[in-house]
């Protein structure tokens, strides 16, 4: 605010001297605006095209996720988590299941951990491709947008083959995953990745030396590492400032310490670095998937405990214990002992955390999500100060706000 005050006074003085060109203008951008893919409202104070102040209003997509979860059993919450960040629903599923398992003090079998890692990384790539494709389109490079959507489609085919759905996957369960990978999964991944590599190298050629693109992105919406930490930014937004913080390395979960990968970082903390970090992370995620497919062990995909996971259909129809276990789990839900747990995973946009409180019944007492893009939106006003109106589009694109997650 202090930086905005000086130009504000100067502009007011100009207005007093009847210079219409430097009149201060209040402009409300949104909540429904074609250039912001998400329902938000920006209350702008403008000096010509220059942004003096930007007040961000969120909440247009609030639907009471946390309240809804309190009314359902633990596994009923999984479909709701799909609708948080719908560009990477598998990561949300896995994060919720992992936190519930931490409350139960159980660990899923190794094969399940591998499957969760593979599917989380596929989701991270689809999320990054969506973000980068949209950002490139909005900056004028529409063909890159189409290419990246094509790449994303090959991955959605993989997701469909595994889960049966493109977006609303509901794949993870407390204590495991829904079902195993298809038998030809490794083959499908190889084909998809061959396409991906070709498309990514095409897009790299189109953008990395493209003067228009670089001038739209470079030096725009920058934030210092200190401010980024103070705003609790995580994920690509924090790593673009040069802070190598990645939950997968700092607090490994689901066996991420088995895999070798780098944490790409930037130096300037501007939109170009955010773009490059995401682009590089796609390649790292592909490397993780390759390693995981090479090392994936055979074995069960869920915990073998009738108190936690559903029995096989043969058991349900074949004997009374199986039928009762099934009934109890479906009607009453998994009984999680009273307690509280906070666990976070590396979401595509940053640290995605769940804080769960259980009272020992089959339903969560309190579900809290730490939505990564909520913090990006809190910092957006400061990122945009002194920028031009056209910079809102690229900066908002790089914050990658997902309404379902930010507003819950």
């Amino acid at each position: 605010m202090a930086e905005a005050a000086a130009p504000l006074l100067r502009a007011q003085k100009d207005v007093a001297e009847h210079d219409p060109t430097s009149e201060i203008m209040e402009l409300q951008m949104g909540p429904s605006h074609p250039a912001t893919h998400g329902t938000i409202k920006l209350n702008l104070t403008l000096d010509g095209e220059k942004i003096l102040n930007c007040d961000v209003e969120i909440g247009y997509l609030h639907r009471g996720f946390e309240k809804m979860c309190e009314q359902r059993t633990w596994n009923h919450c999984i479909p709701y988590t799909d609708r948080l960040n719908y560009a990477s629903p598998l990561i949300n599923n896995v994060a919720f299941a992992l936190t519930a398992e931490q409350l139960l003090d159980v660990e899923v079998p190794e094969r399940c951990q591998y499957i969760r890692v593979i599917m989380s990384e596929v989701s991270r790539i689809t999320d990054h491709l969506t973000c980068l494709g949209m950002a490139a389109t909005e900056a004028g490079a529409i063909s890159v947008g189409f290419y990246l959507m094509e790449a994303r489609e090959t991955l959605y085919d993989l997701v469909t083959a595994v889960t049966g759905a493109r977006l609303t996957v509901s794949y993870a369960r407390v204590g495991g995953v829904m079902h195993d990978l298809p038998h030809d999964f490794a083959e499908r991944v190889r084909t998809a990745f061959a396409d991906m590599r070709r498309i990514l190298s095409d897009c790299d050629t189109l953008l990395s030396k493209n003067r228009i693109f670089i001038e739209r992105m470079s030096g725009v919406g920058a934030i210092s590492p200190e401010d980024a930490i103070s705003y609790s930014l995580t994920g690509p937004l924090l790593r673009a400032t040069g802070v190598p913080y990645d939950v997968r390395k700092a607090q490994p979960y689901s066996g991420y310490d088995r895999f070798e990968f780098d944490i790409p970082t930037g130096t300037q903390g501007d939109n170009y670095d955010r773009f490059s970090v995401r682009f590089e992370e796609i390649k790292q995620s592909m490397a993780i998937i390759d390693q995981a497919l090479n090392g994936i062990p055979s074995g069960p995909i869920r915990i073998d405990d009738p108190q936690i996971t559903l029995p096989e259909k043969k058991q349900v129809y074949g004997n009374i214990e199986g039928l009762m276990n099934h009934f109890k789990l479906v009607i009453e839900g998994v009984k999680i002992p009273p307690g509280e747990a906070f666990l976070s995973v590396e979401g595509a946009n940053g640290e995605l955390g769940f804080y769960l409180v259980s009272d020992g019944s089959g339903r969560p007492y309190r579900v809290r999500v730490r939505p990564p893009c909520f913090f990006g939106m809190a910092a957006l006003g400061e990122m945009l100060q002194g920028c031009l109106i056209s910079d809102i589009i690229t900066t908002f694109g790089m914050v990658n706000m997902i309404g379902g997650e930010c507003d819950r």
Binding site: I58, G59, H62, G64, E66, K67, Q71, Q102, L103, D105, D227, I229, S230, Y231, S232, T234, V243, Y245, A250, Q251, G339, E340, A341, F342, S344, E351, G353, Y355, V357, Y365, R366, R368, R370, F374, F375, M377, A378, A379, E382, D407, R408
Partner: protein, 169 residues
């Protein structure tokens, strides 16, 4: 510094502030009085032994029917030492207010607005305490356990499209 001795270290660095401490599912938890909150939080951030520079989350929990009713929960992470801490403050229903942390972390601004919006817990010296997810006209605090799940407060009167279709005015 190893995970295990954060709690004892806090005890020596900030004597007399910790009301209760325990570990829960891999997280260290301390419960403090709201009067000590500004000092404890800024010390946890500033002191190089702790360096909890990253505020992960602030949230509330409503233990309806228990006393004290509310709990405000802070999750902290240290980038240099890679350790985590959960700080809790317990509040009664009649006096649901506590000091703001917005001067320590910039992200606390929005997080505290959300806690106020959802639970009606007031942060006394907050710079801009207004609703964030709900609209200004909204009455009540939706995440309180005594707020009915099915209650509706539409801004524009709701219309039943079957009995009152748009083309019949």
């Amino acid at each position: 510094m190893a995970e295990a001795d954060i709690l004892s270290h806090i005890e020596t660095a900030l004597p007399g502030t910790i009301q209760e401490q325990y570990s829960s599912h891999g997280n260290d938890v301390i419960v403090i009085d709201r009067g000590d909150l500004p000092t404890v939080l800024s010390q946890l951030k500033e002191q190089p032994d702790f360096a909890f520079t990253l505020l992960l989350d602030i949230t509330g929990v409503d233990f309806f029917g228990q006393e004290p009713r509310f709990e405000v929960v802070y999750h902290l992470h240290s980038l240099t030492h890679n350790h985590r801490l959960r700080v809790k403050v317990r509040l009664t229903e009649e006096d649901a207010q506590l000091p703001s942390a917005a001067s320590v972390w910039k992200s606390a601004d929005w997080l505290e607005r959300e806690v106020w919006d959802m639970f009606g817990i007031t942060f006394t010296d907050h710079p801009d305490l207004r609703r964030i997810l709900m609209y200004e006209e909204f009455r009540g605090y939706p995440l309180r356990k005594d707020y009915p799940v099915n209650k509706r407060q539409p801004l524009v009167e709701e219309r039943d499209p079957i009995t009152n279709p748009w083309h019949k005015g």
